[in-house]
Subunit: 281 residues, 2 copies
């Protein structure tokens, strides 16, 4: 019977660490990290996410701003807004909440954010720095997973880590981070024999967005299971990508959904913003 990984508690710890460093930065250098969230139009989910990010930013002591242009904003106007934020020395982190309206090329907007201020870690330059093993803002969700592993005493070095899913925001950066931590890394997707791969994993990270795709019986006894999936079911409940109850029987540690990886994303966004402020000061 595995132990739960309490993402809420770890995220709170990360935020407390950030808060403490912010206080020191203020006292020693008169510097207050600033985060601007750009939310375009009225996507209801975006509103919830942005509210959570602003709340977290305020709690750790950041300056926190929201830019909220109408959905009718043109791509050029949005680029000008990003450019203004790039130039603003009080803004250390710029987060453009996705999705953007269809008439706007999201890739072009993300690439326009100055890489040092890209606290989401989505800019090609930051994806490249991760791949090359250089410091830089890291994609928040996999960065949070690395912290969870550390918290439960799981050192990936020499372990077989199987990442299911290869998205740009979770799967690929996750694989690169695990590789940098000296795991033997396997990256799987819909063309892979998942049962076979997962059954040989010391660490499983599931990030596909298919409820209970990963069967509990595939989990190797003692494995650490990280479930990044957040699938909203018809009854309104959230389910992960892993068959939780059955996996719990075999894993040493496992993240619940919700309350596992989820809270880490915002916490690591705070970490990235703090680091951007320190680096840019």
């Amino acid at each position: 019977m595995g132990q739960l990984i309490d993402g809420k508690a770890v995220a709170a710890r990360v935020r407390a660490e950030v808060k403490q460093e912010v206080e020191r930065l203020k006292a020693e250098r008169g510097l207050v990290p600033g985060l601007t969230v750009v939310r375009v139009g009225e996507d209801p989910a975006s509103k919830i996410y942005v509210t959570g990010k602003k709340k977290a930013a305020e709690e750790v002591g950041f300056n926190s701003w929201e830019e909220h242009p109408d959905a009718s904003i043109t791509e050029e106007e949005l680029l000008s807004l990003v450019e203004r934020l790039n130039e603003d020395p009080a803004v250390h982190g710029i987060l453009v909440q996705l999705p953007l309206p269809k008439h706007i090329d999201a890739e072009r907007i993300i690439s326009a954010v100055r890489p040092e201020k890209d606290v989401d870690g989505f800019h090609p330059m930051n994806a490249g720095k991760l791949s090359l093993g250089k410091p830089g803002p890291r994609a928040c969700t996999p960065f949070g997973v690395m912290r969870l592993l550390r918290e439960v005493g799981c050192d990936p070095a020499g372990k077989r880590a199987v990442v299911v899913g290869r998205s740009n925001i979770v799967g690929k950066p996750m694989a690169l981070m695990l590789l940098q931590a000296d795991a033997t890394v396997v990256i799987c997707h819909r063309k892979s024999n998942l049962a076979e791969e997962v059954s040989r994993a010391d660490i499983v990270v599931a990030a596909v967005g298919v409820p209970e795709l990963i069967k509990g019986e595939w989990i190797k006894p003692g494995a650490v299971v990280i479930d990044v999936g957040m699938n909203r079911m018809p009854d309104g409940k959230l389910k992960g990508d892993v068959e939780f109850a059955a996996a719990l029987e075999r894993a040493s540690f496992i993240t619940p959904v919700p309350g596992g990886v989820g809270p880490m994303t915002i916490a690591m966004l705070m970490r990235n913003t703090l680091d951007a402020a320190k680096g840019g000061a």
Copy 2:
């Protein structure tokens, strides 16, 4: 008994394709791709490599230049040189031959090359584009391996591809290219159980720089074996990272060393330079 993959022949084919496209570009758009190789000081190996690159560039019909500052050049002077080449519209590709003298920060120089002209594919922006699955110049050696696989009819989709080695110029970009081609990708290194991993590989790419580290008996019957290793032995001969004779017995296809992957690197550099000229025109 496996078949040899004739890298020399494939590389010649790639260069012939490039040459044909160059002729068309000249005829239709009056455009001649231009490649400048920057060689600092007198490293004997660098001289040989640069000579080979210049020769290949001339053969495919590029304009080809060499900048050859003295080893005493300062970092700032070298940056100015790179900046001048960045601004020169006749130069579509800039290749800074490594290694650079110790007083120069190679990373800073590489990052100064405009990403569109970084025909080595080493710029963080281009590493990022590869990771994100976006077009851009690709690291030449793994790009060449992808072409070799295609030439022998090996489609990586759904296959288990095991990459041994995780360097920034071969292992990591190789893994990302194989992933983009829908392989299940395993990345191994010195902390991995190589015998176990290699024995389950449909495609093996060895890029570690240790002669005959990969034993022939580990090769799964029918696997495709790509040996990127080029290890100079005391007797002056080159050896790969794979125990060749024994692996040949089991593989379906295998690259020899020399004459396998080696010739592909320069050929793909020509491809990248041509693409840079087409994109930049």
